[in-house]
C-alpha cells in the first residue's frame, strides 16, 4: 500500500510539470498585462501539435531530432504569442475584463480550426523520447524514465524562472511591473516591448508544456479547453500572479488526480473541487496570491440608467410574442423545430443576463446549469422512471442546487477571478457527466428522454416550450424591476454604498446566481425532452460561450437584449455553419474584430459617441475609481 502511495505521488508530480509550465506562463502574463489569456490552453495544444510535426520531421530516433523538435516547437509558439500580442492584445489592454476574456476566447476558436485544418481531426500519437523509453523499478512498480525526467523538469523550470526574475534586468522589470505598473513608466522602460516580450515568453512556456507532453499522451483537438480549465483551477488555487503558487497548486492538483484515479476513479474531479473549495474558503485569492488592491472595474465608467420598457417596446414585445404564438400556423415543421430551440435558448440567455447584467457577474460556465437541468430531467426519466411532467419540475432543482453550492464560492470573488471560477466549476460538472459512466452513460449520453404522449406532436411541444420560457423570461424581467433586482443593481453599481445602506451584497448576489442557475435549468430540462437525449456537450465550454455571445450581442445593459441576442446569434451561427466548415474560425475572428474595434463593447461605443456629441458639462461625475471592499 505504501509503495502504491509513493508511486501515485510520483505520477502526480510528473503530470504537474506540464500543468505548471502552462499555469506559470498564464500567471506571468497576468501579472504584467492584467489579462487572463483564455487561449493559453490553445498555445499548449499548438506546442504539442508542432512538436509532433517537427520531431517526426527531424527524426524522432536521434536525441537531437527529438529535443530539437520540442524546443523549436516552444519557440514557434512563443512567436505565435508575439503575433497575438501585437495584433490583438495590445489594442485591448484598456478594455473591460470581460471583453479581454472574450477576445482571447475568439483566438481559442480560431486556433481550433487552424489545428483542425493543419493536422486533421484524428488524434496524433507522438514518438517516445530517445534515451527515455525504458522503465525503472521503483517501490516495486514499473515507472517510465520519461516521467522521472518530467518530475525533474518542473522544479528545474521553477528554479530557472526564479533566477530569471531575481538576477536579470528583464526579470527585475517584470517583477516591478507586476507589483506596480505605473512605476515601470517611471523607470524608463519601453512598455510595449516589455508587454510583448512577456506575452511571448508566457506563450513559449505553454508551448513547451505541450511539446513535453508528446511522449506521454495523444495530441487531440480537445486539449485546449481541458487544459485551460485545469490551469484555471491551478491558478485559482495557487494565486493568480504567483509562479511559486502555480507550482505548489500544480503539484497539489496533480497528486490529487493521481490519488483520485486510485480511490475514486469515477469522479476524480470531485476531489479537485473539494480541495479548491477548501482553499478558497480559507484563502479567497489562492494559496500564495494577494487580494487585488482596490479592484477597479473596467473603463465602462458608470452603468447607464435602466428604465422600464416604454410603450413602444412593450408593444413590440407583445407583437413578437403574438408572432411566436401564430408561427405554427404558417411555418413548416423543420422551422418549428428551430423555433422551439430558439425559444429555449432565449430563456437560457435571459438567465445568464440576469446575473451578468443587473448582477454584474459574468459567468463563463453558465452552460453547467443548462446541462444540469437537462441531466436532471434525463436522470429522473432513466433512474426514477419519471414521466415528463415531474422530470421537468425536478430538472431546475438539480441546476439550482448546483448554483447554490457553486455560487456560494463565486460571489466571494469578482472580475476575472469570478470568470475563471465559473469556468472551472462548469468543467467539473462537464467532467462528472463525462466520467461517471454508470450514472450518466458518459460520452454516449442518456437516450430516450421523450415527452409524454400529449406533448409529442411538434406543435404541442413548441407551445409548451413557448409558454414555459415566456413565463420564465417575464418572471426574470419582473424581478429585475422588483426590489430584489434593484438591490442586485445596487450591489453592482456601488457595493460600498449598497453595504452602507444595509444591503448584504454577497447574499443578494448569491440569490441571483442561484435564480439564474435555476432558470437555466428550466431551459435545460425542456431541451432534454426536445432533443430526446442528453450529452456532456450540453454543458461544455463552447455552449457557455454561446450564451455569453447572445447576451453581449443583444447588449448587457438592456433587459430585452438577451432575447434579441439569442435570436440573432442562433440565426447567424446557423447560417455560418451552412456557409463554411471552418465556422469556428470565422466566429472567432468576428469576436476578435468586434472587441478590437469596440473595446468598450457595442453599447459602450454607442455611449461614447453620444457623450462626444452631448453636453460637455454633464461629464463631471467625479472620480471613477471605485474601490470595492472584497472580502
Amino acid at each position: 500500500m505504501f509503495d502504491l502511495i509513493l508511486t501515485q505521488i510520483l505520477n502526480g508530480l510528473a503530470s504537474a510539470s506540464s500543468l505548471f509550465l502552462v499555469a506559470s506562463g498564464l500567471s506571468i502574463i497576468f501579472g504584467v498585462t492584467r489579462i487572463v489569456n483564455f487561449a493559453h490552453g490553445s498555445l499548449y495544444m499548438l506546442g504539442a501539435y508542432l512538436a509532433f510535426t517537427l520531431v517526426n520531421l527531424f527524426g524522432p530516433a536521434s536525441a537531437l531530432g527529438f529535443w530539437g523538435g520540442v524546443v523549436l516547437a516552444a519557440v514557434l509558439v512563443a512567436l505565435v504569442g508575439l503575433v497575438m500580442e501585437v495584433t490583438v492584445l495590445r489594442r485591448i489592454y484598456q478594455a473591460p475584463e470581460l471583453f479581454q476574456l472574450l477576445a482571447t476566447f475568439g483566438i481559442v476558436l480560431m486556433i481550433q480550426d487552424i489545428a483542425l485544418a493543419s493536422w486533421g481531426a484524428e488524434d496524433k500519437l507522438g514518438p517516445r523520447a530517445p534515451g527515455f523509453k525504458s522503465f525503472v523499478i521503483l517501490f516495486g512498480n514499473r515507472f517510465p524514465t520519461y516521467e522521472l525526467l518530467l518530475i525533474v523538469i518542473g522544479p528545474a523550470v521553477l528554479a530557472l524562472l526564479w533566477f530569471l526574475f531575481q538576477k536579470t534586468r528583464w526579470g527585475t522589470v517584470v517583477r516591478a511591473a507586476t507589483q506596480d505598473r505605473e512605476m515601470v513608466g517611471a523607470l524608463g522602460v519601453n512598455q510595449r516591448l516589455l508587454f510583448t516580450s512577456v506575452f511571448a515568453f508566457g506563450a513559449g512556456l505553454a508551448g513547451l508544456g505541450g511539446a513535453l507532453q508528446l511522449p506521454r499522451e495523444a495530441v487531440t483537438l480537445h486539449m485546449d479547453l481541458s487544459t485551460i480549465s485545469e490551469v484555471f483551477v491551478v491558478v485559482v488555487v495557487g494565486g493568480l500572479g504567483s509562479v511559486a503558487g502555480a507550482y505548489l497548486a500544480a503539484v497539489l492538483i496533480g497528486v490529487l488526480h493521481a490519488f483520485g484515479i486510485l480511490i475514486f476513479p469515477k469522479i476524480t474531479l470531485v476531489l479537485v473541487f473539494l480541495v479548491m473549495a477548501v482553499v478558497l474558503v480559507i484563502k479567497p485569492y489562492g494559496l500564495m496570491g494577494k487580494r487585488p488592491v482596490g479592484h477597479v472595474r473596467g473603463p465602462a465608467a458608470a452603468e447607464p440608467l435602466l428604465t422600464p420598457a416604454d410603450r413602444a417596446t412593450k408593444l413590440a414585445g407583445l407583437a413578437v410574442l403574438l408572432l411566436l404564438v401564430a408561427a405554427p400556423l404558417v411555418t413548416p415543421d423543420h422551422l418549428l423545430l428551430t423555433l422551439t430551440e430558439l425559444v429555449i435558448f432565449a430563456l437560457f440567455a435571459a438567465s445568464l443576463h440576469f446575473m451578468m447584467g443587473p448582477g454584474g457577474m459574468a459567468s463563463f460556465g453558465h452552460a453547467a446549469y443548462f446541462g444540469l437541468g437537462a441531466y436532471g430531467a434525463a436522470l429522473a426519466v432513466k433512474w426514477l422512471g419519471a414521466p415528463m411532467e415531474p422530470a421537468l419540475v425536478f430538472a431546475p432543482f438539480l441546476a439550482g442546487i448546483a448554483g447554490l453550492v457553486f455560487g456560494w464560492f463565486c460571489v466571494r470573488l469578482s472580475g476575472v477571478y469570478l470568470a475563471m471560477l465559473t469556468l472551472a466549476f462548469a468543467q467539473i460538472a462537464w467532467a462528472t457527466a463525462f466520467q461517471w459512466v454508470d450514472l450518466t452513460g458518459g460520452d454516449n449520453g442518456i437516450l430516450g428522454v421523450w415527452p409524454s404522449s400529449w406533448a409529442v406532436p411538434k406543435t404541442v411541444f413548441y407551445y409548451l416550450a413557448l409558454a414555459v420560457c415566456a413565463a420564465c423570461v417575464l418572471a426574470l424581467r419582473f424581478t429585475v424591476f422588483a426590489p430584489l433586482g434593484y438591490a442586485l443593481r445596487a450591489a453592482r453599481d456601488n457595493p460600498l454604498r449598497a453595504e452602507a445602506i444595509g444591503i448584504d451584497v454577497m447574499r443578494v448576489q448569491w440569490v441571483a446566481f442561484t435564480v439564474a442557475a435555476f432558470a437555466a435549468g428550466i431551459a435545460g430540462g425542456l431541451f432534454a425532452f426536445f432533443k430526446g437525449s442528453v450529452f456532456p456537450t450540453y454543458m461544455a465550454i463552447p455552449r457557455s460561450v454561446d450564451a455569453l455571445l447572445m447576451v453581449l450581442l443583444g447588449g448587457v445593459q438592456t433587459v430585452s437584449g438577451p432575447i434579441v441576442g439569442a435570436f440573432a446569434y442562433a440565426g447567424l451561427s446557423e447560417q455560418l455553419m451552412k456557409l463554411t466548415m471552418y465556422w469556428r474560425f470565422v466566429l472567432g475572428l468576428s469576436i476578435v474584430l468586434l472587441v478590437v474595434l469596440f473595446p468598450r463593447g457595442l453599447v459602450g461605443g454607442f455611449l461614447a459617441l453620444r457623450e462626444r456629441h452631448g453636453a460637455a458639462g454633464s461629464g463631471a461625475a467625479g472620480p471613477r475609481l471605485a474601490v470595492e471592499g472584497v472580502r
Binding site: E303, L305, T479, A482, Y486, A487, E499, A500, I501, A626
Partner: protein, 265 residues
Amino acid sequence: MSAVATVPVGAAEGPVLVVRDLAKSFGGVHAVQGVSFAVEAGRMLALIGPNGAGKTTCFNMLNGQLRPDRGEVVLAGRPITGLKPRVVWRMGVGRTFQITATFTSMTVRENVQMALISHEGGIWNPFAPARARHVAEADALLGLVGMAEQAERACGVLAYGDLKRVELAVALANRPRLLLMDEPTAGMAPRERVALMALTAQIAAEQGIAVLFTEHDMDVVFTHSDRVIVLDRGRLIADGTAEEVRRDANVRAVYLGSGATSGGH
C-alpha cells in the same frame, strides 16, 4: 492639550457616539493613532485636518468599513466596534462618502427609494415593482435637500454638488441618529456650501441627529459646528469651540504649514 473629549453634563442619555482610543495603521503608515471624542444628539461636530490626516480612515472605522487595530466605538451605549457596515447602518448610522457613492444605473429618486426599501426590510421581494414604493417619502427627502426637480435624472450624469445632496438624502433615509459626512460640500460653490450645511444643522437640530462632518472650508466650519476637533497625522491636536480652535497655536502651525485654510478639495 487633552485629546480626550469631555462629555458635557446635561446630555440626558449621554452622547450618541463615543469613540475611545481609536487607532489604525496601514503597513508602516499610522493613519489614526489613539483618537477619542464624542458627539451628542442634535449637535454638529466638525473633524478638520489637512489631507492625509486620517479623517476618512476615522469615518471608515466608525461605520464598520475598516476594523480598528485598537479602540472602541460606542453608539448610544452599545459597542459597535468591528460590526459590518450594513449592521451599523441598521443601528441608525447614515453616511456620505468623500468620493460620492451612488447607484449610477438608477435615477435620483430610485437611489433614495432603494435606501428606503432596504430600511423597511423589503429587498427580498422578487415581484412587486420597486419604482412604486416609498415614492412620497423619497420625494420628501429629496425636497429637503433641494433635489426634487431632478428626481427623474440619472445619478450618472449629475453635477458633483448635486450628487452630494443625493447622498445626504440617502443617508437620511433610515432616520439615523448619527450622520457621518465626509467632505459633504467638496465641489460646491461657496454659497451652496453654506446653504447645505445650514440645512444639515437644521435637520440635525429638528430630528435630534448627531452629525460628524469633515470640511476644508473654514467659513463653513466656524459657522456651522458646535464643536471642532483637529486631526493632524493621525493624532487629535485640538478640541473645542470654533473660536478656541481658531486661536490654538498648534492648529495655526498645522494650517499655516499646509496652507489649506479654505477651499481645499
